[in-house]
Amino acid sequence: MTEHKFPFLRLPDDLRSKVLQTTEYLEMIAYSFVSKKAYSMIQSFRLPILTVRITMKKQPEIEVKLSAISIKFGLNMQENDEKMTHLNGLPVNVRVTYLNFENHEFSKKISTWTNQGKTVGEWIQHLCSISQAECYVADFLVRDIELDTPTLRKIFPKLRTVSVKFPQAEANENDITSAKHVFKAFLVDVKDVRLEQFPFQDNLSLQHIGMGNSKILQLYDPRNIRIDDLLTLNAESIFLKTSQVPLRDLNSFFKLWKKGSNPKLEKLNVMWEPTRNFIPKWKILMKGLKAKKSRAEGEVPMKFRIKNVRGALAEIRCVFFDIHLAYVQFTVSI
């Protein structure tokens, strides 16, 4: 290295702090890896971290967001298709991508760091504990990873959002086990749950998983979902993207809502991609609901109003965009 050296630690504490606060966030984070004392100093700065997003997949990623700046740490694991990534695995190296969108300008820097002698779990712990972020989010791609509940609890911070993604292919035993570990570790505290291609089964229904405390539930292309399963949830907002036409089930759901189920529900959006020649029969959806139509037939979106036994009003918007998209939006207005 040709750079001139500088005896940084011989500076008084206040000057060291002043110098570090002059550096950019990326250098501050880099400095936190230099030693334990350096790490403590950076912690004392309370960096204004908005979100830390951890993506647990074959090559895990940790993204730290600070206002208009995003720093992504891509943990490059040994390429071995048979071996799954686990939290005790040691990355080969770390690809650091720095993105800055400040002042409507975009800049990008990519560099490669060593693994700093840290495992995947230690990288997560380090980056999550530099500063108390406003929000911690974790995505788990269950096919690629091997997890257990105690390690997850030990390593991860209190998460606000958890996303569990199953592969397109049929779920195997390991996928289900990993997902169960994630739920067991986090579902008590988590507020926002996102499930992708989730293979609901008799012993793995929404009730089994224990969705009781989540406020937001998003389901993308779930397998074997029954709209009835949504009835017992306490979620305030539910989003469902499905491949099946759910009009009959939704009709039952709304009937039960009118009778008083799902009292906490504020919003339900159900979306599906219609097949060719599909024409939605909104009459099936509205059958027996005694809904008041607030738009003329054929107008997009069609709007209906229903009222439940508690006197709460809700609006149902029915939208159909040819073969591209159809959705039903249910919004409770007090």
Binding site: K5, F8, K18, T22, A30, Y31, S35, K36, K37
Partner: protein, 188 residues
């Protein structure tokens, strides 16, 4: 190092020969003060330039020296190397009565002197120059990895740190034991 625009450097307080040059001649003659560092070389600096230093400014406000008294009593900064003090004096002269720009191109370029300069500027409480100096230290590690930062800023690893602490404790223990033995010997 050449002497500053307004000042002269010599081993003894120098006779002010020329008044400071500025765009408009001041109505009241500017007062000058004298400072010297470790090398005892005296620098003549105008009060306007010294305003940058909160420390010296405070000293001047309290002293109320006449020109003769100031000449006879240069401010001694024995903890600052002569060449570093020269750099500071140059910077103060260059920025006399001017608002300091956000990026300063007049900063001393010798990186090997940066550490001493930072300490001197901190001691003299020259806020703007300190900010620039800190920026320059920060720039040394821009875009660097943790290992590169450790090397450039000469930071020991945790293992080295622990070993050094152990060694220091050991040494302190030995010294304490030696002192106790000596005290016991004296008592006998």
């Amino acid at each position: 190092m050449s002497s500053t625009e307004q000042g002269t450097s010599s081993a003894a307080p120098a006779e002010p020969t020329t008044a400071p040059e500025s765009a408009a001649a001041p109505e009241v003659p500017e007062s000058f003060y004298y400072v010297h560092g470790k090398d005892k070389v005296v620098h003549k600096v105008s009060a306007g330039a010294l305003q940058h230093s909160a420390l010296i400014h405070g000293m001047i406000s309290n002293l109320g020296y006449t020109e003769e008294q100031a000449k006879a009593n240069p401010f001694p900064f024995e903890n600052i190397d002569g060449d570093i003090l020269q750099m500071v004096v140059d910077w103060c002269n260059q920025h006399k009565g001017k608002p300091t720009p956000p990026e300063d191109t007049n900063l001393p370029k010798q990186k090997e002197k940066l550490f001493d300069l930072v300490l001197a500027v901190n001691y003299l409480e020259i806020k703007e120059l300190l900010t620039y100096c800190c920026k320059q230290v920060a720039m040394m590690v821009k875009g660097k990895s943790p290992e590169e930062i450790r090397e450039i800023w000469m930071i020991p690893t945790d293992a080295e740190d622990e070993a050094a602490e152990k060694e220091a404790k050991k040494r302190a223990g030995k010294e304490a034991a030696g002192e106790t033995a000596a005290a016991a010997g004296d008592a006998k």
